[in-house]
């Protein structure tokens, strides 16, 4: 697999990050073409979350840059943000709202191309759409958070520990979701401990501190 030959969409150039006087990673380079996946591995506090936040643009890298279709994502973030779907540690759900309303807000706000109903279908939560989100189990809340990504096919998904609190069946469902996303030309970058089946994914192991 040589991503450079296939016109990469996302390029990271010599990314370095320092937090609280501690070097997390330095000189990271990678390029991902549509359909590619990158799995980040490494122990706790090795910088997986920070790398995802740097890629998203929430955290400033100490050095280096991230290019999306040739444009620097810091200087010209509009295209990148339209294509980017981020799943962090939090689920970004309001317990007072129903499942459908939660997803509906993010779909409107992020101008998702799929309807909330289709996205709920993808994570198998359609039958719970009218329940308050506070009634969902932790695993179901995580699936609802994943539905937000399912509503936005085609771009780049950044996922921080997407399998946390998911049961085995849901992990399989997530694998299928990622596979479909890639088949549609999407890119997936995920940080995970567990062995989530992501076929033909590049693996980047962090945590070898100098």
């Amino acid at each position: 697999m040589d991503p450079d030959s296939r016109n990469p969409a996302l390029i990271a150039q010599s990314l370095s990050c320092e937090r609280g006087g501690r070097h997390l990673f330095a000189g990271l380079d990678f390029a991902l073409a549509p359909g590619d996946a990158l799995v980040l591995r490494g122990p706790n506090a090795s910088g997986k979350s920070s790398l995802l936040r740097v890629l998203a643009g929430l955290l400033e890298p100490t050095e280096g840059q991230v290019l999306w279709h040739g444009k620097d994502t810091r200087e010209d973030p509009a295209d990148w943000r339209r294509s980017l779907a981020f799943l962090g540690h939090g689920t970004a759900l309001k317990p007072q709202f129903s499942v459908g309303d939660n997803l509906g807000f993010w779909s409107r706000f992020e101008q998702a191309s799929r309807t909330p109903a289709e996205a709920l279908e993808a994570v198998g939560l359609s039958h719970l759409a009218d329940l308050p989100a506070s009634m969902l189990s932790a695993g179901q809340q995580r699936r609802l958070a994943l539905a937000r990504l399912a509503a936005r096919p085609g771009g780049c998904w950044l996922m921080d520990e997407p399998t946390v609190t998911l049961d085995a069946a849901s992990v399989e469902q997530l694998s299928a979701m990622i596979a479909q996303h890639r088949a549609e030309g999407g890119i997936a970058i995920l940080a995970t401990h567990e062995d989530l089946a992501v076929e033909n994914a590049a693996v980047l192991t962090l945590g070898v501190r100098s």
């Binding site: 929430l58 981020f86 970004a92 309001k94 992020e110 101008q111």
Partner: protein
């Protein structure tokens, strides 16, 4: 602009749900005002003289009590990251949240002010400048308050800090709001005071947008 309205509608809906901010803030406003006659005595003449001041100061406090949760929940559940990653600039996110905050606190306080004025024997001359002043001043309270609320994110004892940071900055809003009422009672032109109150609002718009967005970026770092 639809992302903007979606955010305003979500925040208003959150605040007006059962147990939401809106009802609690209004309850606080009414109860605090009702305490004053207990504190200074029921003398209608005395109450009438200080009525506008009571209403204004209580409006300031009501704005403060609801500020702590303006950004905190969004930070804790991860929503703030997503708001920051939308194509809409973070400055507009701050303004949308301020607008929602005003709709559920400042606006009801303004609408309730005549009722409170009646209970406190406010002079009939004072109603118009009081309400117009509040209508212009309370959005400024939400905006300046948002700066404080965003600065204390991630701080220890954040809630208690907001008052210390924000109340000194509220003084001009209070002074020009009150001076409009005083001018009306003295038979002087009210318009200059109202215009300055409007100018304070205009100044606080960009100030809140930029300082608030800067502080939010800091909190997410």
């Amino acid at each position: 602009m639809s992302a903007f309205t979606a955010l305003v509608r979500r925040d208003v809906a959150l605040a007006t749900r059962r147990g939401g901010e809106a009802a609690l803030t209004l309850g606080f406003f009414v109860i605090t005002i009702a305490l004053f006659p207990f504190g200074v005595g029921p003398d209608p003449e005395l109450l009438g003289r200080i009525a506008a001041g009571i209403i204004w100061v209580t409006a300031l406090l009501a704005a403060i009590v609801s500020l702590d949760r303006l950004f905190r929940q969004d930070l804790e559940d991860g929503s703030l990251d997503l708001l920051a990653l939308s194509p809409m600039p973070l400055e507009l996110v701050v303004l949308a949240k301020c607008l929602a905050h005003w709709l559920v606190t400042g606006l009801p306080v303004t609408l309730l002010a005549p009722v409170m004025g009646m209970m406190l024997q406010l002079d009939p001359e004072a109603y118009a400048p009081l309400i117009i002043g509040l209508a212009l001043g309370t959005p400024a309270l939400s905006l300046v308050g948002a700066i404080g609320a965003s600065l204390v994110l991630g701080a220890r004892r954040g809630g208690a800090l907001i008052g210390l940071l924000v109340l000194p900055l509220y003084i001009p809003v209070l002074i020009f709001g009150i001076s409009a009422v005083e001018a009306a009672l003295a038979g002087l032109p009210v318009l200059p005071h109202i215009l300055i109150e409007g100018a304070v609002l205009v100044v606080s718009l960009p100030l809140a947008a930029f300082a608030g967005a800067g502080a939010l970026r800091l909190a997410m770092d």
